[in-house]
């Protein structure tokens, strides 16, 4: 099939940026979306033109590197799918496709479709961990954890840190990402010990980074490639209020 692409090009953080038009020819329905872009890029390179820069690595939907807005939707039209796992059979001959980077104040564009998501790392550094050092851990079976709690923790821990939740939210809020980490650890006995500090520190950092507020649109859950549930936002809010009460004491 043949497609027309409109792609955001921006030389660097300082550049204003614009949409450019490209033709993608002879695209097979079995290609992934990124393989389609590879084809376009290889043609550009042959012509000596700057290929379209986009972030990607594992191409298996797990590293969270890929990050494209396709026709205004973070990761494109298929539910529960990263854009590296999106296949061209979801499109048809003659389609026009608009490709843009994540748009959020806290994720500045680095080049073309690549953004800087280091704000997520800094939120993690503020508290997204259990403060145990290497060595001295008790036997792994010393503390039984119910299957339900482990599964619940896992459901939250499945977050790949891609940032689609932020890109999809009209307030550019990072609540789903932060809630996923807070809940993952709060659901396990090992993480409970410092749950109160963690939630406060992470939320403070999130605010500092310039992410917006959550006003319950739930676009984040709809865009999330790992289908992280907004119920974790509710859990985080509970954790947060509990920690405030704790502080006042």
């Amino acid at each position: 099939m043949n497609l027309t692409l409109y792609v955001w090009r921006q030389k660097n953080a300082g550049d204003k940026g614009r949409m450019d038009k490209y033709e993608a020819k002879d695209i097979s329905p079995d290609m992934s979306f990124l393989e389609m872009l590879d084809v376009v890029n290889e043609d550009l390179e042959r012509e000596g033109k700057d290929p379209i820069a986009f972030d990607h690595d594992c191409r298996e939907g797990i590293c969270g590197t890929c990050s494209l807005n396709v026709n205004g939707v973070a990761h494109g039209p298929e539910k529960g799918t990263t854009v590296c796992q999106l296949h061209m059979r979801n499109f048809k001959d003659g389609d026009k496709i608009y490709i843009e980077p994540w748009r959020a104040k806290a994720f500045p564009v680095v080049k073309d479709l690549i953004v800087d998501r280091s704000a997520f790392d800094r939120i993690m550094q503020a508290g997204g961990f259990v403060s145990v050092g290497t060595g001295g851990a008790p036997d792994a079976n010393a503390i039984p954890i119910s299957k339900e709690a482990a599964e619940d923790a896992f459901d939250a821990a499945a977050c790949i840190g891609c940032g689609a939740c932020v890109a999809a939210c009209k307030n550019a809020s990072a609540m789903l990402f932060v809630a996923a980490k807070v809940s993952h650890l709060a659901n396990l006995p090992q993480g409970k010990v410092e749950a109160k500090r963690r939630v406060v520190n992470m939320i403070n950092q999130m605010d500092l980074e310039g992410f917006g507020n959550c006003t319950n649109y739930y676009e984040c859950q709809a865009a999330c490639p790992k289908e992280i549930s907004v119920k974790f936002i509710a859990q985080m809010n509970r954790e947060y209020f509990r920690s405030l009460r704790y502080k006042e004491k």
């Binding site: 660097n12 097979s28 290609m31 992934s32 990124l34 393989e35 590879d38 084809v39 290889e42 390179e45 000596g48 700057d50 290929p51 820069a53 972030d55 690595d57 594992c58 191409r59 298996e60 939907g61 797990i62 590293c63 969270g64 590197t65 799918t81 796992q85 296949h87 059979r89 080049k111 690549i114 998501r117 280091s118 790392d121 993690m124 550094q125 503020a126 997204g128 961990f129 259990v130 145990v132 050092g133 290497t134 060595g135 851990a137 008790p138 792994a140 079976n141 503390i143 039984p144 119910s146 299957k147 482990a150 923790a153 896992f154 821990a157 499945a158 790949i160 840190g161 396990l188 090992q190």
Partner: protein, 637 residues
Amino acid sequence: MALDSQVPSGPMSEKWDKHKFDLKVVSPANKRKFHIIVVGTGLAGGSAAASFAELGYKVTAFCYQDSPRRAHSIAAQGGINAAKNYQNDNDSVYRLFYDTVKGGDFRSREANVYRLAQLSENIIDQCVAQGVPFARDYGGELANRSFGGALVSRTFYARGQTGQQLLLGCYQALARQIGLGAVEMHGRSEMLDLVVVDGHAKGIIVRDMVTGEIKSYAADAVVLATGGYGNVFYLSTNAMGCNVTAAYRAYKKGAFFANPCYTQIHPTCIPVHGDYQSKLTLMSESLRNDGRIWVPKKKGETRSPNDIPEDERDYYLERKYPSYGNLAPRDIASRSAKEVCDEGRGVGETGMGVYLDFSDAINRLGEDTIRARYGNLFHMYEKITDENPYQVPMRIFPAPHYTMGGLWVDYNLMSNLPGLFVIGEANFSDHGANRLGASALMQGLADGYFVIPYTIGHYLAGVTPGEVKADHGEFKKSEEDVKQRVHKLLSIDGKRTVDDFHRQLGRLMWEECGMARNEEGLKKALEEIPKIRDEFWENVKVVGENEELNQCLERAGRVVDFLEFAELMCEDALDRDESCGGHFREEHQTEEGEALRNDDNYTHVSAWEFTEVGKKPNLHKEPLEFEEVPLAQRSYK
């Protein structure tokens, strides 16, 4: 040069404890004076960097992704081994040790493997303490599954995302240290050279992948944890950015490269489907717990799999290896698949595929149970192939996956260059000629959490901190070399793309140095590779400039190294005139087509020393001794 493995004396089970006591220790007050560079923050590098910082060392770490959370360790699906014997199925440190030595086809260093098996238990404890949500039973205890090459259930897992969960645990530990200011982390940074001063590794040259700035970093020791080189085949299960660059540049600076020809071709991947394909996707080995592998008995079968009656199917692994069956080790399972496809019994459009069938398991356990075990893998399979594996058998084929070869290290995980340590997939040490499933995660974390934090102290205790600074002449020289190479790449302005060359090299390597190798093919490859390389330097087109984010330039730099490294791989494969594990020389097989070792001449590690590009490297041998597990032909029947 004599290669001293530094393996301690004494009984196998006491070596590590004894050695730890003999290692020098740096005092707490002095630790902060020492500066360690860690390149790569996957499971191996991430765990090492966090542990160093906890001890009080000053750490600077680098990775090429934007965040350490995205290292390719994240993609590991199936699980991690540990000799916990929680299932009471008679597992033990000794059994894990034995299985690993045997699985590696007697080409690994026994003492390293024994230590690995010992430390496996601590890893699980550590990860649980960090909040890794491993699978659990209803009683609240940890669950296990089985993996290839073992008769016990010792694999711990977190759904089909074990690597992700382990890496997040390790990333969190690292994030904590970054937050505390104990680790300085540089993402989107690529190491392009190692700097050696008076024979000691003293730092690295790094390109900032956003600004293009090429910069020197000096330290008292350098740790490489840069992963494997599977992408020499172009198509592999590795991430797009995985490379040999860091290890190869260290090799060019004098570090020995050990057993580069030992590559693992994983039996269960989604088959290749088109020229445009950029990577291959693994379907975890854990699927072999419940899936049965078969092909039609008849050549050129055209019926759809569900229409082929039971007695016209050949469950070839179960037939050939009745006791291990579908859980035969990877090298054996891969070769068997190739064999039946070569016979013309392969399935799918290209004939390069075999079935992995879940219908028996679904009938026995129900679709829900199978979904709970492998849901995400089935989902991924369906997305890629547009076929529903609950209804039709999966089609799978072997693909390059893991590299057992790597930089040579001694028992302390230090290379022959003092001060250069190598951990994780980037070193060669523990898996011999074939790695068993679920043991790479184990090795990466054992190296990073529990080995190198002790052994690096022993080295540092003997050097003066901060002796060499980044303004030393050697740094300037290396920086200049790197700049010139970049400049040259950008100025060729030829006609072919970087990927075009990479694909050409990959095809050649897959044909001649892949699942099966022979003298003629290897010699042919050794003639072809320099030609591809020469054409590359004349006819590649690398667009853009250095002073910007330039993905084309990044790829070109990696392909340059693959083009030289491929030659080293073929030299090694040619020199090792025997079959062992993943290295299958067609000239050496038993009547039944199994790998036939030549213990008299090849019970050694081949460690190669760089001479000149295009010239044969020098070979150094580390003899391997088997005190505990007597050399024997592997049998999985």
